[in-house]
């Protein structure tokens, strides 16, 4: 299903999504981030990319697995807290973030299905917005097999045509969201189709960061496991969590028991990060990845070697957040280039 939506009717579409939680990018505190949209509220789709990725809608930073209560010597009472969210529609998802979701789906499905992730994921409808121009100097979606108008992982893809949007349903879930406001849409004519194709083709010509031969990267990483390159590239790394927390595909987490009162508490999942020192540290103090070089190697290898070996695709969609937001200029594209040369 392909339709045309005039820009002033976007609000009408959102208004028809009653019963759903609607989120869209908003510029607040000097950053773009997803924020809930009030019924009948306006949506500003002039955003670059949100600082936080769309993964948080299925994999929030904090998820309570269950509550427990146990008096000393008594029986534990466990109450699972699998979420039962309302249907949630997210507008303005950039195609790089869209492509992140099927990769996360693989992680949370493989061998053991994660009920918390899927309870949220199944209720999630992603309305994407094609990037007519790169939103940062560090975009490289095309270098990792994506495109500024990739449909992968999205339920709907919108393309800005100036005074109107071209809106395409990618999945039945997406079509359903569009049908809610059938009247707001017009049929897309041949001229509209031609215009979309022109805009998409033009967006593919925009400058992006190149990473060379994608197929050669896994072997290059493998050959460089013991190379000093990693320590060299991580020399100024401060070991914070920015690169992974903002990444649309980083999924590592921690599980802890947190007290909520005497004899009771919650078992909680929180995001974790391979750049933190205690991430892999054994209780004995032994740490298999004991320095920043080893941790940078893990981050890059996970995305461009291990994930490829396990799932036949890169675990990076080229959004460029880890590069743009790094406080000290660590640049995964430059790291790949350097590793490729060694």
């Amino acid at each position: 299903m392909e339709k045309i939506l005039s820009k002033e009717k976007l609000r009408e579409w959102v208004g028809k999504l009653d019963g759903c939680e609607v989120h869209a990018p908003a510029f607040a505190d000097s950053v773009w981030n997803y924020a809930p949209v009030q019924t009948g509220g306006d949506i500003d789709l002039s955003h670059t990319n949100t600082v936080g990725s769309v993964k948080a809608f299925a994999f929030p930073q904090r998820e309570v697995f269950f509550r427990f209560e146990q008096a000393k010597g008594g029986a534990p009472v466990l109450t699972a807290t699998v979420p039962e969210p309302r249907p949630t529609v997210v507008f303005g998802v950039r195609p790089c973030d869209g492509r992140g979701m099927p990769r996360n789906d693989k992680v949370f499905s493989a061998e053991f299905k994660d009920p918390y992730y899927w309870a949220r994921r199944e209720k999630l409808t992603l309305v994407g917005l094609a990037c007519n121009e790169p939103h940062s100097p560090n975009c490289f979606c095309q270098s990792v097999g994506g495109s500024p108008h990739s449909e992968e992982g999205l339920d709907v893809l919108m393309t800005d045509l100036g005074d109107r949007y071209h809106v395409k349903a990618i999945t039945p879930k997406g079509a359903e969201a569009m049908e809610r406001a059938g009247d707001a849409f017009n049929e897309a004519g041949a001229a509209d189709q031609a215009e979309v194709e022109r805009v998409h083709a033009e967006s593919r010509q925009q400058p992006q960061r190149p990473i060379g031969d994608l197929a050669a990267i896994p072997e290059a990483i493998k050959q460089n496991f013991d190379s000093p390159v990693w320590a060299e590239m991580a020399q100024h790394c401060i070991g914070c969590g920015i690169c992974t927390f903002l990444c649309p595909t980083c999924h590592c987490f921690d599980i802890n028991d947190e007290a909520t009162g005497a004899n009771k508490g919650e078992r909680v999942r929180t995001w974790d990060n391979c750049q933190f020192p205690d991430f892999t540290m054994h209780t004995s103090g032994h740490n298999p990845r004991h320095d920043l070089g080893a941790r940078l190697r893990q981050r890059v290898s996970h995305k461009f070697l291990y994930f490829v070996e396990n799932h036949k695709t890169q675990q990076c969609t080229g959004c460029g957040r880890c590069i743009s937001e790094c406080p000290v200029g660590i640049d995964i594209v430059a790291v790949l280039e350097r590793v490729g040369q060694s």
Partner: protein, 344 residues
Amino acid sequence: MVKVEDIQQCAAGLLEKGQVKSVLGFRRGTAGAMAEPCTITEAAEAGTLVWDPTCLNNLALYLVKDRKQQAASKTPDIRPIGIVAKGCDSRAVAVLLQENYFKREEVFVIGVSCEGTGVIDPKKVATLLKGRSPSRVEFDGADGFKLTLRGGEMQVPAREILADRCLECRAASPALNDVVFGEPSGERGYATPFHAAKEALGASETERWAAWEHHFDRCLRCFACRSVCPMCYCPECVVDSTSFVIEPQTSAEEKANRIKWCERSPNTSESAVYHLTRAIHLAGRCVDCGECERVCPVNIPLRLLNTMLEMEAFEMFHYQAGHDLSQASLLSSFRDEDPNSFIR
């Protein structure tokens, strides 16, 4: 006007003569307009050093990092270390010296005066450009910056995108230095010291708490603010649950009974404990380099927390962290005339 060639020649000379084994400076990065930190060990590399309003980092952090790496004896000894330092950065070096983190002869301060301007605040630029980033930022005369964007250039008055710490800077020229480039200049006249803190205090307590709850609620607990702070050098941070030090002799009981001052969950309450405890641990030590606030990916105004405490230190004890190396540090000294109503 500071000439980058002067910095480059200085660094090359120091390395050539063996006065230092390495120089911490800035180079052009690959990631966009902002300069990035670099460590050079050869005079031939000095040509890569840059100086412009995107030299944001406080490189004193890497003096601390070097000591830690040396303690773990993983890297070759690169001391003495030359360090390119702005006014605020040199204050950080001074505090670290006061606290005996390293010795004076181990560091050579290549001071650079900000000469009445300073560095930009990328978040202000983001606000100006609604999230877009320039490909280049340059000084443009005494009171402005030139931004290069996709499809054009843009002149911006300095005060619009200068970092708040620069607007309020009290000592733009490094007091602690072995050599200094640029004209000495003190207060800027853009904003009075502690302007932002005083303005924030204009709001009621309820309003202020609501604002901070909003900010703490957004915190991702990526610990970038702590990790980037040269003063946060504790091997084990009481409020950062990710940095536990375990020695072979650490007993199971010690590990088991370690107090978690704040849980891993990024709740408003836990994040409040994290930020407030950190701020208090920096009282009388924060040099207002603003790095904590700069690196925050969600732009929590962390500098306000720290400057509020520095304002108290200044108003109550006339103390300014890192301004005077001969001064005893605030928390380790006592004078008869100090206000001590809290004891009586």
